[in-house]
Amino acid sequence: MFPFLTVLVALPALGAALLWALPASALSRVREIALGITVVEAVLFVIMALQFDKCDAGAFQFSETYAWIPQIGTRRALGVNGIGLLMIALAVILVPLAILAAWREDKVPARRRHYLALVLLSQAFMVGIFAARDVFLFYVMFEAMLIPLYFLIGSFGGAQRRYAAVKFLLYSLVGGLIMLVAVVALYFVGPGGEQAFLTDNLTGTLDLTTTQERLMFLAFFLAFAIKAPMVPVHTWLPDVAENARPGTTALLVAVLDKIGTFGMLTLCITLFPAAADWAAPVIIVFAVISVIYGALLAIGQKDMMRLVAFTSVSHFGIMVLGIFAFQQTSVEGAALYMFNHGLSTGALFLLVGFLIARTGTADVNAYGGLQRIIPVFAGTFLVVGLSALSLPGLSPFVSEIMVLVGAYPVASVAVIISAVSVVLAALYILLTYKKVFTGPAPEAEPATARDLTLRERLVAWPLVGLMLLLGFVPAIAIDYLREPSADIVAHVTAEEANA
């Protein structure tokens, strides 16, 4: 069988190497080459997804394992279940769009080359993380991914970008190092041998004392909570969003932050179900705080990039609420939200980026009346904004309602409080739209008065189309999530039954 996953990981990595090795004469074509590589990647992914057997979406498919470091029992084991497949789809969809969105960002070809190569490299790590079936491999990718991201944030973007990059690196490193302790501990308490770190071997077989299990759970959870920014460890995100390029931020929030929730689902709960069950009430409290606090802060922002970042904090809170309610429907909803939030927030960041490219400022108060001069842009922005407030007909709605309704049986108070975010979401999106797009038409400046160009439409409209499709026929995606979610819930319920 064709080793799809290895190729999907290797292709962007080799592409990055190719870009760095490109002779100076070919530098003018660097964007086309990078885009071509990501398009080939997308085509390969589509071929793979068509062969995915969704009747067995709970099991790892396209599995490949190769020996890696036999002395400590790590293997290069790849494989995807339904959730992993959707996450890889997100990475594969958004990277070409981000490259297209940054088409005119750099005037100097050499800088352009660095940017694109770093984006490709981070795509390789994204796919690798979502496909890893070995905890050690997951950890290595998790940490290695910081390298391209550090340079993406620190080298390209706004005035405070170095500060933002260091802040991001410190937060991520702290989380990663705590996780490393747990990974090492896993080696000593695990089965050992040739496949000491394979998730399948660790699931349900670990013989831990209660304290050990809880400590290891917390170590993993902290790393993932930092990655999926949860209050109170979210503070790196707004700074990064404000200072990094919109394309970078879109990738970071739409895809990379999902590693946090993905890790909670596939590692935290699967490996330590009893501890997850133990910690769930506190985690749900923090999730609800994230939902409300993030939304309130979003309402108060003047900088649009920070605003979108805070909306993400709020949305991630809903995902975590769904995951730790341990109900079939809520976990399905949370997994679906991971995908839908990627589409919605990715599109929102990229659109704000287009706006900044026109005027050079992200300050909401600097705008007004744009609907009169750039109606298509305004309409697209409104649709994407409405998706961020979970309007029915657009895909995030389905996932949000599944989380809220699905979690109600066990966490009704948390759901009722979180439901307030429905109103807050309407406020932060519509107030922004009102300030930027409504009101009397401003004096037309040629730079601002450019409506959505063809390139920008190619970026935004596929995302809008996908959201509409999944908003009306969410069954397409839910079919991939039902079985993995059932497995995850089963781990916890089995543990409850034992206890």
Binding site: C55, A280, M402, L404, A419, V422, L430, P474, A475, R482
Partner: protein, 553 residues
């Protein structure tokens, strides 16, 4: 025409999409397209009305399922349209008034260069409103509900170059969303209590729910209705909303949108009938009565509701004296009309024994057999466990559910005969029945009357249930859903047995390990369903059922 009622939604929706996508290119003829789409929807509604009037009164409701919206493991929602007299009435109201307003707007908006966009929004509004009144589940209703909200936002803010108009639009949307919280909470309560969100299931099961649950759901629905219908305390948006062009004020605020709240209340009648307190609030509010509680205490309601409530009141008075309040006797709980419905999911209380084995209640001899969902067979279950022919009884249950599928096929699915949703889901049905029985071995001893003894059961302990774990009050035991996560991982299209080496699987036709079978296995009791897919499904069902009911197969 009744089965084509989806066209009434699709026509305006398609027209709105065309107008919005084509932009300026549709300026010349866009408004006429909008009028035509709205008029077409009216004609569809009229056709449905005529067809409906030709049927006998009890067969007038038609539920068409278009496709599966959310095929989740626990939550299953179809995109289904319910064309019954109530919804067709609203369809005609909306499309008739809507079409007139469309025609009016052709001239009224003539000098606006965005007239085409205005008609797109009008069409969007009509489509969302029709979805709202035709939906057959609360979730789908919510889609239309919010769609109406956003369409009104767009229409009120149509002239949003004036900042105060843009503010009015925002205000309308945000205040409406406060009401939407109520609908979300109501859906949460219903999913918790009934395990489904469609009107049919909820209507059937509402009588079994506790008054407190129904009151909570009713109040949440009331909040939603207040938002949409601009009732105190969420009335503030309506005045500002007159910022929109005049046809918008006519369409939204006079004719259709504010009736959505009324529609929600009417459609939720089963909830409100079981929740007299919420009902009193509603009634008191409607007529600006100063003291809503007193309204009900003096019993005005029962005169309004007709004679059948009288016996409820007498019963409650009696129970109040005795200090207990069992479920009320209702003379309207008539036996199912079709004898075969006595089997299957709707096992009546008496079927498996004498009436004296009913739940202890003073009025048990009065009580007619009543349809009850299989999930709530709390009192049947313990007897079944002792039954020497338990598997055979199980077979009857399964068989009964298949009768009902055939019954539907013959077009006899009038409202009173609608089977529980779960039974339409093919293999799910068997799992569903199995789920009822899956904790048989855990039942405690029975007392002399055949009821479960009173000491707490193992699964009633606080730490066992997720709600207990979170420190929340546990739901009433009768409404707890069995934890079926293991068994339910799949649906009809997707039933291949999982490759798990550790666990032996029994395929149909293979010898069972452990010697000859004494009973017919579950898999064989269930009638064959179809080609290959069905056979696989049976194997899978058997696998699941074996796990749930060790010793059965």
């Amino acid at each position: 025409m009744q089965s084509l009622i989806w066209l009434a939604i699709a026509l305006p929706l398609a027209s709105a999409a065309v107008l919005l996508c084509l932009g300026r290119r549709a300026d010349a003829w866009g408004h006429w397209l909008g009028v035509a789409a709205s008029g077409g929807a009216f004609l569809v509604g009229l056709g449905a009305l005529i067809e409906m009037l030709g049927k006998p009164a009890e067969e007038r409701a038609l539920d068409t399922t278009l496709y599966t919206f959310i095929p989740g493991g626990d939550l299953h929602v179809d995109v289904g349209l319910l064309a019954d007299p109530l919804s067709i009435t609203f369809v005609l109201l909306i499309t008739f008034v809507g079409t007139l307003i469309h025609v009016y707007s052709v001239a009224y908006m003539e000098h606006d260069k965005d007239r085409r966009r205005f008609f797109a929004y009008l069409n969007l509004f009509v489509a969302a409103m029709l979805l709202l009144v035709l939906a057959d589940s609360y979730l789908l209703l919510f889609v239309g509900w919010e769609g109406v909200g956003v369409a009104s936002y767009l229409l009120i803010g149509f002239w949003n170059y004036k900042p105060e108009y843009a503010t009015a639009a925002n205000k309308a949307f945000v205040v409406n969303r406060i009401g939407d919280i109520g609908l979300i909470i109501a859906m949460g309560i219903m999913f918790t209590t009934f395990g489904a969100l469609d009107f049919a299931t909820i209507g059937e099961l509402a009588g079994n729910a506790s008054t407190a649950t129904l009151t909570a759901a009713g109040l949440a629905l009331l909040l939603a209705a207040c938002g949409k219908s601009a009732q105190f305390p969420l009335q503030s948006w309506l005045g500002d909303a007159m910022a929109g062009p005049t046809p918008v004020s006519a369409l939204i605020h006079a004719a259709t949108m504010v009736t959505a709240g009324v529609y929600l209340i009417v459609r939720s009648a089963p909830i409100f009938e079981g929740a007299p307190n919420a009902q009193a609030r509603r009634r008191g509010r409607g007529c600006h009565h100063p003291d809503a509680r007193r309204t009900d205490r003096h019993g005005e309601g029962r005169h309004q509701e007709g004679a059948r409530r009288l016996d409820d009141v007498a019963d409650r008075l009696h129970d109040a004296r005795r200090g207990s309040r069992p479920r009320r006797v209702r003379l309207r709980d008539l036996p199912p009309r079709h004898a075969r419905l006595l089997q299957g999911g709707h096992v009546p209380g008496r079927w498996l024994g004498h009436a004296r084995h009913e739940r202890p209640g003073r009025y048990a001899p009065l009580r007619c057999p009543q349809g009850r969902d299989g999930r709530h067979l709390g009192d049947v279950r313990p007897r079944l466990a002792r039954h020497p022919r338990c598997p055979a009884v199980l077979g009857l249950l399964v068989q009964g559910q298949d009768h009902r599928v055939r019954l539907r096929g013959r077009g006899m699915a009038a409202v009173g005969l609608r089977p529980h949703r779960a039974h339409r889901r093919g293999p799910h049905g068997l799992l569903h029945v199995a789920s009822v029985l899956h904790d048989l071995p855990r039942q405690g001893p029975l007392d002399r009357r055949g009821s479960p003894a009173r000491e707490p059961r193992a699964h009633d302990r606080a730490d066992d249930h997720p709600r207990g774990r979170l420190g929340l009050p546990r739901p009433h035991p009768r409404h707890r859903r069995p934890l079926l996560a293991l068994a339910r991982a799949g649906d009809r299209s997707c039933r291949a047995p999982r490759a798990r080496a550790a666990r032996p699987r029994h395929r149909r036709g293979h010898a069972h390990p452990g010697g000859a079978r004494r009973h017919r296995s579950l898999a064989e009791v269930r009638p064959r369903r179809g080609p290959a897919g069905g056979a696989v499904g049976v194997a899978r069902d058997h696998h699941c059922a074996q796990r749930l009911l060790p010793g059965l197969g």
